[in-house]
Symmetry: D2
Subunit: 206 residues, 4 copies
């Protein structure tokens, strides 16, 4: 493979990118002037150095001081420490932050669990979550863990797996486990709602 | 216009049918043998005679006796009469019945209200609903009216309009007004949830 | 099944209509006033009486006199009788007429042939086409038969089947067999063209 | 903007990438191990050095020797030099090569011309094409220039613009100008064909 093909291969590994678009990316870059490419390559190196994984929530964050090991959200003293919201990935964290609906702490799971996964700990950060919950439960400030996963088969399976892993820690400590409410989401027409959503929407009526 | 064009015109009035599909319907019918067409025309007459609008919930239903004026759901004595669910249209009623989530009574509104509608009573059966609520409140069995409308701008507007129309009747009678719960609907990924849905999902967590 | 369900069943037989839209059609009709339904049923009967199949091109047409047995296109003396265009269905005929590209005669095949069809004569009007070609070849006016079928596997298969059926008639009579040209169709981007289309587009360049 | 946001900005400039997918790319890269990122940055530098623009057809190609200034296609002595195919972009060149339909030379235009473009020479390599045609016409080997542009308004406009620019050079030299043939493209159903395509398909029948 020549350099064009090898770069296209790299782009094919990107989420949602097929062979045609990978090629288009290569030609797009080739058509750019040299400084765009240099900046881009530079930024790739820079981002790796500038970014660290938060020791508490496991989220990627841009370090502001060399010794910082917790992200701004975990370091923010005004955040409510009584709730811990478990999300799948960084983009979900950003979606919730943008909504302004939540002011507590987070944990980034790093994935979801397919129903028949043999080695769950290689897929999601279940052990890291256990350790965090153990520590936070000991401190006594944690009151509730909120599972904010997608309303999909895999999201539900992941939640049930985590509930059974965490319950031995949370029950003695009086920490509640909760899940985002189900119901009609914005824009959904009643006619196209499934039975599960209707049952939940009816149970959650107010 | 000749007969083919006039029949195509009729089909163009059907919901979701454009000129091309309307024509396709006509040729589909022409290619069928005579008995299909006769049966079809016969069924069209029959359905009009066989079907009545329920005097209580305003739903179309197939009459089983000539004098029946209430649909089987409204006539069903095992149905819970303490709740009345307001839906937009027949298909919504069927969706909810199929889900098995609800065992109370219904009211078919016949449409929704666009935000700036000047003559709401020509669009939806608000007056019929008022009359029904008045009668049911007097009997004393009605405890709750559930608005089961789509989670859309028009659905929300319609619900607020009806709430303000009904409150003078329901408040003195101690009848509650409620709305289907909002939250993540089945299949929704967190990443694609809007702020409104997330807020509701968080408030409805359990 | 009651009358509503039976009418919905009929609509489900319509091309492209699923169970949900079939139900929507029924409720649409029920909500219409009586005269719409009467007109509709009347039109269904009328169209069957008013429409005949042309004895020459097999197309449905609206009879203008009781004894007319040929459609206006076949009866039009200004039409060029030296070419006969074979199309799949009425809607294709209309598409070509609307384009204004063709002023000759037509034949409506009534379908296409799936590759492994055992009884081709039950699927398409191959025998009727043979009879017409035989008669027209005898008259001596016919010079060319143009296959105007879809550029699909089934369209191509149908064309090859008809070519081998017709050749014994057309070759002795000096009637040419032709097919619509392949190439880039309007709106097609080069990047999304398949090899077959490109080869044809290149061969047909001008 | 921090490093994550700046890298996301870069990805937003890529063809077809919105803000959400740009972010997803950044987190995808952050989750990869260090060596993936290093390889990727390295490849970006390498590709720029390894790739040159062909002095003849203006295509990007991977240099095999330091002094090579013509791409393998232009340097290939077995290629037919009597035809020159003008395409919009590299991906179109690849599509045609993959089809195996063409064995002549190419010219990469670098874009198409919107109908009201004031400065056409900043959008497409019209001047470079003129220079090439002039040189090739002088040599005497060039017989035909084939415009292989998309069958779109912009493609047609670009072709007409180039025809009028090139004619003063090609007419005296006896070089023909041609365009890919129009007609039914593979998979197109007759019913969905536009008038233009039908006219061309009929004219190109065979």
């Amino acid at each position: 493979m020549n350099a064009i093909e090898r770069l296209a291969e790299k782009f094919k590994a990107f989420p949602g990118i097929g062979p045609r678009q990978a090629k288009r990316f290569v030609y797009f870059l080739l058509a750019k002037n040299s400084s765009f490419l240099d900046e881009f390559a530079e930024l790739l190196r820079e981002v790796k150095d500038a970014v660290a994984r938060c020791q508490s929530c496991c989220r990627f964050f841009v370090r502001t001081s060399p010794e910082g090991s917790r992200c701004p959200t975990c370091a923010d003293l005004e955040r409510n420490t009584s709730t811990l919201m478990v999300v799948e990935k960084e983009v979900d964290f950003e979606t919730i932050e943008r909504s302004g609906a939540y002011r507590g702490r987070y944990f980034i799971l790093g994935g979801t669990l397919p129903p028949l996964e043999k080695e769950p700990d290689r897929r999601i950060r279940a052990r890291e979550l256990e350790a965090l919950v153990k520590a936070r439960a000991k401190e006594g400030s944690l009151k509730e863990i909120i599972f904010a996963l997608s309303a999909t088969v895999e999201g539900d399976h992941t939640r049930r797996f985590l509930e059974s892993r965490l319950r031995p820690l949370t029950e003695p400590a009086g920490v509640a486990l909760s899940t985002l409410g189900r119901g009609l989401s914005t824009g959904l027409e009643l006619e196209y709602s499934d039975a599960e959503t209707l049952k939940n929407a009816l149970a959650n009526r107010k």
